[in-house]
Symmetry: C2
Subunit: 375 residues, 2 copies
C-alpha cells in the first residue's frame, strides 16, 4: 500500500520478500528474495537503500544490531522499535512517562497472578510480551489455573522466565486509536482520533473521526500520542491503541488508557488512504525520509473503514464486481494475499456527510466481499 | 500514474517500455523492453495480457491491425482510436454527429487556404492531421505563403497529398475540457467540466470544476462528451477539449466548440487524482476491464492542478522539500522523467473551499518546483 504514494512522490521502493510471488513483489519492481532472519541477505539488501523501514515489528534483535553496525539508517530505530516489540518494555516506559494505562505487572511466578488479581480483581488479561497481534498471544484469565493451562499450551517454560504481562481487564466504553507520524528531525503530525470496532480481538471497522468524542479527551489522547512518539524517539507512523473509559458515576470526564503500540502504518489508519489529505502510507514515507510531513486533516466529515476478512471461498471476482456496481463511491483496496478464513485480505473505505450511511455502506461492501452476505 | 490505483484494485499491470530505465519500468514489475513499432515484440507482449490499452494515441495502424488479428482485446478499439489519431477523420465524424465545432476544411491545394479564409477570415489555424500535441503540428496562418513556408519546414509533400486541416480561429473566452469514461458494456460516467489554462499551446493549469460555468453550458458540454464516447465507441477515458465562446452581443448563451479529442487519461484530468472520488487512472482501469465505473464526483468544492514544466536545472530535491514544507496540503506528483525545458515533469494538486487560494497555492508550488521562482 506504500507503492502508490511512493510512485507519486518519486520515491523508489525496494522490498525484501520471502518469496518471489509475495503480494509486495507483484507491485514493486525491486523485490529481492531473502529471509528477514538471514543477516547476510538483510544487510546486502539494506546497503542498496538510503533508508530502511519495516512493515511489521517482529524484526529479530540480531538483525537490527547488524544493520545498525553497518551504519544503515533505520526508521524507526531499534531503540524505539523495542517498545513495540516487547510489551513489558512498553508498559515500563509508558509508566515512567505517566501515560494513563491499565494497571499491570510482570508475572514471573504462578503465585503472581493471584497477588495481582487480589489488587485489580478477576479476570485479568495475560499477554505474551512478544509476538502477539490480532488477539493472538493474549488470554483472559479467570483464575490462576487458566494461566498455567495457557502457558503450557503455548509452550512457554513453566517458571515464566521472561515474565508474562498481566493487565487489569478494563471496563471500557469503546476503543480508540491515535495515529501520529514523526520525522527524524522531530516534526510530528497527528490524524484525528478514531474509534476502532473489534470482534474477537480483530478490528472490523474504524470510524474517523471517533463519533461524539469529547474535545478534551480527543486533545489529551492526541497529546499522549505525540508525547509517546517524541519520548520514545519514534520515526515514521506510530499507532497508539487506547480504551475509552466512561466518566466515574461520581462525576468527571471520560478518559483513555493506552492499550498497545504499533510502529508502522496500521490498520486503524487505513481510512486515511481515502479520508485524509495525507494518507498514513504517504506520511510514513515522508517521515522516514525526513521530508516535511503532509497535512493529516480529513477530506470528508466522516470516513468509515471496514476490513474484508477471508471466508471459505477463494473466488472474489464476482463479489468485487457486485460491490463496485452497487455503490460506485466505495473505495475497494485488496491486498493480493491468498484468502484464508479470518485473514485480512483487503478493506473498503466510504466517506460522506452521514456517519450512519457511510457505516452501513462500508460494512455491506466488506461483508459482501468476505462472502458473509450475498445480497 | 495508473500503478497506484492498479495496486489498490488488485489489477496487475504490464507495460511495454522502450528502455529498461524508463519511468514506467521503475514502478511496474512487469515491464518488458520492446519497440512499440515492432510487430512481433508488441504481439508477444500483448498475448500475456487480458486487455491492452495505450498511454498515447500514436500507435501505428499495422500494430493495431496485428493485435486485432491476434484476437487481443484492445481498449480503445482501433475503430475508435483513429478519431484521436487523425484530426481530419475526427472533424468529419463530429460533423456527421452535429457536434458544435470550429468551421474547418481539408486543404489539398495551396489555393484552398485562400478560399477557406475567404469564408472564415484570416488568420486560419492549420493542423497536421496526425502526430501533433502540446502545440506541435499546429500553425496560425496569417496569409497563404505562411502555410507553404510551414509545410516546407516540416517536410510535408508540396501537393498536400493527405490534406492539411484548416480551422477558423475561434475568438474563445476560455478553454474547457470534458472527461468521460466508457466501458465496453456501455456504462459511462462524466467528471465535472473543467477549465484549462494554456500558455504557448501548453496546459499550465486546470480549474475543477470550471468556475462560474453556466449550468446549461456545462450540461450541454457533458452531453456532447458522452455522445462522442458512445457514437465513436470509445472505451476507457475520453478527453474532449473545447473552446467556450461568449454569448452573441445580440443575446443568447455562451456555447462550446469541440477542439480536440484524446482517448486516454489526459492532463486535463490529473486534478481527479486528489479531487475526485474516482481518479481518471482508476476509472480508465475499471473501464477497460469492463468493471463497474466509480463515482466521478468531486471531493472538494475546488481543485486546482498546476503542471510542473522542466526548466534549466536538473536538481529538484531542494525545491521539492521546500514546497512540502511551505504547504503541507499540496499534493506533489512527479513523473520520474529526465528534466528538459518545457517538458511536463510532474504536477501538483491543491483542493479547498476557495478557488483563489487553491489557485495561488498550486501555481506557487508548481512554479517553485519548476525553478521559475525562488521564494
Amino acid at each position: 500500500m506504500m507503492q502508490g504514494p511512493a510512485v507519486e512522490l518519486g520515491v523508489q521502493l525496494s522490498v525484501l520478500v520471502g518469496a518471489a510471488d509475495e503480494a509486495a513483489a507483484l507491485v514493486v519492481p525491486s523485490a529481492p528474495v531473502g529471509s528477514p532472519t538471514d543477516l547476510e541477505a538483510v544487510c546486502a539488501f539494506a546497503r542498496r537503500c538510503d533508508v530502511v523501514t519495516f512493515d511489521h515489528e517482529h524484526v529479530p534483535p540480531d538483525v537490527l544490531a547488524a544493520l545498525e553496525a553497518d551504519g544503515i539508517p533505520l526508521h524507526p530505530a531499534p531503540t524505539a522499535l523495542r517498545f513495540a516489540q516487547d510489551k513489558l518494555a512498553m508498559r515500563t516506559r509508558l509508566t515512567e512517562l505517566a501515560v494513563p494505562a491499565p494497571r499491570w505487572t510482570a508475572a514471573r511466578r504462578p503465585s503472581d497472578v493471584e497477588v495481582f488479581a487480589g489488587t485489580v480483581g478477576w479476570p485479568v488479561v495475560a499477554k505474551m510480551p512478544r509476538g502477539g497481534y490480532d488477539g493472538k498471544g493474549i488470554r483472559v484469565v479467570e483464575r490462576a489455573a487458566d494461566l498455567d493451562d495457557w502457558l503450557a499450551a503455548v509452550g512457554t517454560p513453566g517458571p515464566l522466565e521472561d515474565g508474562v504481562l498481566l493487565e487489569e481487564r478494563v471496563a471500557f466504553s469503546r476503543e480508540l486509536a491515535v495515529l501520529v507520524a514523526r520525522s527524524p528531525s522531530g516534526q510530528a503530525a497527528a490524524w484525528p482520533v478514531v474509534e476502532t470496532v473489534q470482534a474477537d480481538g480483530i478490528c472490523t471497522e474504524v470510524l474517523a473521526p471517533a463519533p461524539a468524542i469529547q474535545p478534551g479527551l480527543a486533545a489529551a489522547a492526541t497529546a499522549a500520542g505525540l508525547t509517546i512518539a517524541g519520548e520514545l524517539g519514534v520515526t515514521g507512523v506510530l499507532a497508539v491503541e487506547m480504551f475509552e473509559v466512561p466518566a466515574p458515576e461520581t462525576g468527571g470526564s471520560p478518559a483513555y488508557l493506552v492499550n498497545e503500540l504499533a510502529m508502522r502504518p496500521h490498520n486503524s489508519g487505513h481510512w486515511s488512504m481515502d479520508g485524509a489529505v495525507t494518507s498514513q502510507f504517504e506520511q510514513h514515507l515522508r517521515a522516514v525520509l525526513d521530508l516535511p510531513l503532509g497535512d493529516p486533516r480529513t477530506r470528508a466529515p466522516w470516513t468509515v473503514m471496514a476490513n474484508v476478512l477471508g471466508a471459505g471461498h477463494e473466488e472474489l471476482y464476482s463479489a468485487y464486481r457486485h460491490v463496485m456496481a452497487r455503490d460506485p463511491a466505495v473505495k475497494v483496496h485488496l491486498y493480493g494475499k491468498p484468502v484464508r478464513p479470518g485473514r485480512k485480505i483487503g478493506h473498503v473505505n466510504v466517506s460522506g456527510r452521514s456517519l450512519g450511511d457511510a457505516r452501513a455502506r462500508a460494512t455491506h461492501a466488506a461483508d459482501f466481499l468476505a462472502g458473509a452476505i450475498d445480497e
